[in-house]
Amino acid sequence: MNLEEYRTVFAVTSLALVLVAAFPTLSLVVPFPRGGERFSELWVLGPNHMAEDYPFNVRVGEEYSVFVGVGNHMGSSSYYVLYVKFRNQTQPLPNATASEPSPLPPLYEFQAFVVDGETWEAPLTFEFLEVSRFENSCLVRRVMINDVVFWVDSSSSWDSENNGFYYQLFLELWLYDVTSRSFQYHNRFVGIWLNVTAS
């Protein structure tokens, strides 16, 4: 190598070392973009904390339990509300395409503050307290959710395809938006189907 080539090697090495020395300060000044998609998870697990053994054939006077959970991957701590709703087969679910919640009124609710990258979980117990059945219809009058009694007065017709009176207990996830200072439906919902024929 001649002297010019040695000088280039020296200059490049020095520049690299200068960049290494300046990196800690640069990292505090220059905002590096955060990678990855921002989203939230919502789930319901069975009584054994597994995605199995969900309550299905329910009876009046028996208590059933599941676990509901939320995972936060939004890049910062988040404030969630979970609305527990109850519907028969004809009542509307949330509209995932339009990002709209179900118009049904919530019965129970959870509020959760979750650190980014962490999860939150809570038990959800429910019991059918009063159910009336006629020939081809069924009326659920009262249900108890986490020891609170709710009048629902929801009727269901006989489902001849699936042979049963079906209802759904479902949860909607809402997220607090700092900009609008209000909760927005986060376009996540999950539910379990319940057959009250045996009650």
Partner: protein, 168 residues
């Protein structure tokens, strides 16, 4: 018999006269409960925003979020009680929620200020060390380059042409 009639008439009249007061008291407690819930919602939201600011400044907010979750449970109970018409419980839960929210908000502001100070100090230290590092690297490179160049020239100038023999 006439006494019994008198008592019944008295009771009916009492109920009739008292009903506006009872209904009024219920309406009043409903208004108080709704106002308490609204206040608690605002306090909890602003406490959460203060916690977010503290988190953005680099503070560890996991303890504050745990307390906010307690307040959130109380607010959820207040909402449920409100839907069920249990207005006394609504006010109780909402007031408790508001108290925790206010405490968290004050602590979050303190944590945020502390985190901002620490970040400022950290930035100064980092910048000082970076500048010192850059200056040291530049000086050493320059000195190293000069030394290398001197040695290189010495080696090149020290070379003597040799006469090769051609024995073939």
């Amino acid at each position: 018999m006439s006494n019994l009639k008198f008592v019944i008439i008295f009771l009916v009249l009492s109920a009739f006269v008292a009903s506006p007061f009872v209904l009024g008291a219920r309406a009043s407690s409903q208004v108080v409960a709704a106002s308490a819930v609204s206040r608690a919602e605002e306090v909890l939201a602003s406490a959460y925003e203060a916690v977010l600011e503290a988190e953005g400044a680099g503070a560890n907010v996991s303890g504050l979020l745990a307390r906010l979750s307690e307040a959130g449970d109380l607010l959820a109970q207040a909402h449920v009680s409100h839907r069920l018409g249990d207005f006394d419980s609504v006010a109780r839960f909402a007031d408790l929620c508001g108290e925790i929210g206010e405490e968290v908000k004050v602590e979050a502001h303190g944590l945020r200020d502390q985190a901002v100070l620490e970040a400022d100090q950290r930035f100064r230290w980092t910048m000082t060390w970076s500048i010192a590092g850059v200056v040291a690297i530049l000086c050493l490179s320059l000195l190293g380059w000069r030394a290398f160049k001197r040695r290189y020239h010495g080696r090149v100038l020290g070379m003597r042409p040799e006469v090769g023999s051609d024995e073939s």
